[in-house]
Symmetry: C2
Subunit: 125 residues, 2 copies
């Protein structure tokens, strides 16, 4: 599903999902100027098994932020714990940060000097 | 639910959700050294209506990344479109970036020099 959205961003296919409340064309709101250089990237990753972790770790060591979809790991507690331990070690190693997001579907890992605020904004909560 | 997880991070309550496949204690993997200064923060926000947008915009103008939960806006297409237009304008204004994430439940907005990679990592896709 995430793939579908990113395909949509990339223009590969329309992001239509019959389960949605209404058809949303978020892609039309999205913008980026990919020609311009960036000092930092946010990378979107999926970890489905142990072999996916090295690339995520490399990105954090390279100074990038990674949002990891760990939804598929929930079925396998042993792999889940091992992957999460690995990721936590990386965050600690680079003096970054790591938090869960969205009903533990995502883990957000940051490089040095980037922290995740624990104070939530808005939503009347 | 996001609140529950963040409460858990903050140590307010245990993150237990009977609907999960198994009990995950992600909080035990999370770490941050909040005493140390950060050059950039990632803020987690919920936009439930128009009054929530100014704080999100302020954060981006202040050089922070914001992950906005827009799940509640899906019910109201007019507000959704207005909020998304606002956020896109901010990203454009600061030469940042904006993308949808997780079945359009989240929008990721970045400040200047931070871009979201459209190339997805891992997951065998």
């Amino acid at each position: 599903m995430v793939k579908k959205i990113f395909d949509s961003i990339l223009g590969k296919s329309p992001a239509r999902n019959e389960e949605d409340y209404m058809e949303l064309d978020l892609a039309s709101y999205e913008g980026s100027n990919e020609e311009e250089p960036a000092s930092m990237y946010i990378k979107i990753a999926t970890i489905a098994d142990l072999k996916d972790t090295p690339r995520v770790k490399d990105e954090v060591y390279n100074g990038n932020i990674v949002i990891v979809d760990i939804g598929r790991l929930k079925m396998d507690k042993v792999t889940f714990e091992r992957v999460l331990k690995d990721l936590r070690d990386v965050a600690k190693d680079v003096n970054g940060d790591i938090v869960g997001l969205g009903e533990q579907k995502y883990v957000l890992i940051t490089p040095m000097s980037v922290k995740v605020s624990r104070e939530k904004i808005g939503g009347g909560l």
